[in-house]
Symmetry: C2
Subunit: 431 residues, 2 copies
Amino acid sequence: MTTSLSPNWLTAREALALIEAGDLTPVALMDACLDRWRARDAEVRAWTHLDPEAALARAEDATPGPLHGLPVGVKDILYTEEMPTSFNSPHFQDHWPNIDAAAVAMLRKAGAVMMGKLDTVEFAVNGRRAATMNPHDLTRTPGGSSSGSAAAVADGQVPVSLGTQTGGSVIRPASYCGVYAIKPTWNLVSHEGFKVCAASFDTLGWYARSAEDLDLLAEVFGIEDVPAPASLQGATIAICRSPVWDKAEPATVAAMAEAEARLRAAGAEIRVLDLPPAFDGLTEAHRIIMQAEMRVSFLAEYRELGEALYPEMVSILKNEKGDSRADLLAALDLAAACRAEFDRLAAPFDAVLTPSTAGEAPVGPENTGAATFNRIWTLLHMPCVNVPGLTGPQGLPVGLTLTGPRYSDRRLIALAGQLGSLLSQAPMRPQ
Amino acid sequence: MTTSLSPNWLTAREALALIEAGDLTPVALMDACLDRWRARDAEVRAWTHLDPEAALARAEDATPGPLHGLPVGVKDILYTEEMPTSFNSPHFQDHWPNIDAAAVAMLRKAGAVMMGKLDTVEFAVNGRRAATMNPHDLTRTPGGSSSGSAAAVADGQVPVSLGTQTGGSVIRPASYCGVYAIKPTWNLVSHEGFKVCAASFDTLGWYARSAEDLDLLAEVFGIEDVPAPASLQGATIAICRSPVWDKAEPATVAAMAEAEARLRAAGAEIRVLDLPPAFDGLTEAHRIIMQAEMRVSFLAEYRELGEALYPEMVSILKNEKGDSRADLLAALDLAAACRAEFDRLAAPFDAVLTPSTAGEAPVGPENTGAATFNRIWTLLHMPCVNVPGLTGPQGLPVGLTLTGPRYSDRRLIALAGQLGSLLSQAPMRPQ
């Protein structure tokens, strides 16, 4: 079924099966990915560092394992012993920590091959934008901050990639680029070895062109399986328009309605989950905690670089909003209470469907979209999986999120695959 | 007042004042510390890495700043660009990450000079013990896991040092070695750049021979000042025997009574703080969360090293206790609820007095004591300052902890200094 496709378009599972059968080599797979990169890089610009000779040499040396020979792209805030890590910051262009992020080490141990480093918004926060453009429309943003991670997978330059999310930095680019991605439950995968932004929100996530590929990496990262319904028929799905529904554009309103209709047609039981009023405070709580934690995690850089850091960062470091310790404690305690409450509210459902973004990708690169629909889930530590398949009035992807209680990650991945198949029979491929 | 002392026994503030006045040089101060190290290292064994020539060269190059020329010892799980980081693990003896922990970078930027790396229990958890012995009694443990950090400061080998706490790894060694130390509010100082054990507990702390020196580093780390009573007269101190009071040995029972009597004599208002029954579950909640988070943070090492890791670690990684996700969520939510509750309960008091350890340091090195009296405060994210000054029946130090609501760190440091002066007129110096 896949032989007519160039190998760079294979899913990870398809490619690994061919490698195991002896019908594809890690070097040939990397070569196909590099060919796609060469053809498209001038326009998509997903990578901050890619040395094709070194990538091929690493593919040649790939070790056996469940990911034997699988090319992986790595967001350029994760440390990689064999490549530099720039944070896409002008202040860290020669930065080369000689250690691997824990996630990179686990992937390599499983046989994966690091292909290169993927562009990001500066420090995965704000400031300098990634040079990356949306592969489906080169005038538009791929989203931020994991801009290159989503774009490279969507464009067929690499089958899977790593990103990180503190607000909406994994799910938003997945929605805009039309790929699967997971932001797992907080601290379910080690945070070690990447630039910290907000310690209690930062979450490693990953991208793929199938839900099964998300699950493949979940297995390598040691995430326990959670039983999922074998089919959407009879599954109970809650529709949660979230406290920020008024920010949804027509594209997202239509996508939510379309998904609901297809779920009903497939025999799913649809419920409505309205969040209690306390949840209305979570967007502001996210801002207060994130900025307070940034004052901790960027203090060393501030001491070194001062006003040379970008102005919005400096403003946060100076606490120009004037948030107090009491504001921070109230935000922390509200978040903690709502975590337990959301687990309770979501327990009766197999999954909760909610928007991934306000709509289609805006014109970029300066505008990378907003994390409006992602922040509260990041704050609550809940797992989120982006489901691609629908498009908006511009013909661009509009993703939807499946979320659920903490630690329901692999159930959500399985249901995302089923929902994705309902929404679209074939992945959307640029050019 | 200090001229009769060798400079290695000066407090940081005393030494810095002499350096600023031109009466002491950073090199002379480092030389005095190295002399003490040479005289005592065969017995105290506090350091995993100390290159005297390199330390002197760094002192020679010390940059101006609030800590100009101050020698600092660094626990050997924190990354230091100029020195290796072994985690005191047989598997990481040649490990040399080429980046600085954020805390190390901030201290160096302020003018401090890294003297060397201090011994720790393996990975700051368990397994291989530090070689370090208690400088007050060389048959006894200095406590773990920041064994070298406490012992080197107590022994006059360095004026201040960095440690980390996940259970009781800062406060316990401070109690056993008779020095001041702070485990601040969680995530008040960046966690970046050290081996993660349990992400939601790991806390950078520091040691000194005076409370004023703790405050000096608090300022460099950007911790906001919190007003403290100018004197203990009229201050309101709550006595909290904690849910594990039945584990207190006679030395600690006597120390708590002695401190209470001296506080009363000094005019402090003494209250009793009995914690509600929900707090009885916090010790077990700490174990469940810590072990669940260790399964995340040590998975990469487990994949690489397997059963070569020490047996207790392997048992935790295999979850041989069989803790469930439901157990973990219940523990997380109990901890979160008790954080808010303790802030409320402690709000009426200037500080809360509670034991630091069950008693004096046990015979070591295999037995490093227990974190019994520290775990619940680490779990709750509350700041803790160890106050030295009292001794037990063996003539060894017995510390007490001042704790309070989140973010009351510098108030507690100030009160710890006042209480320490009540308990002892002069620091206890080995040999």
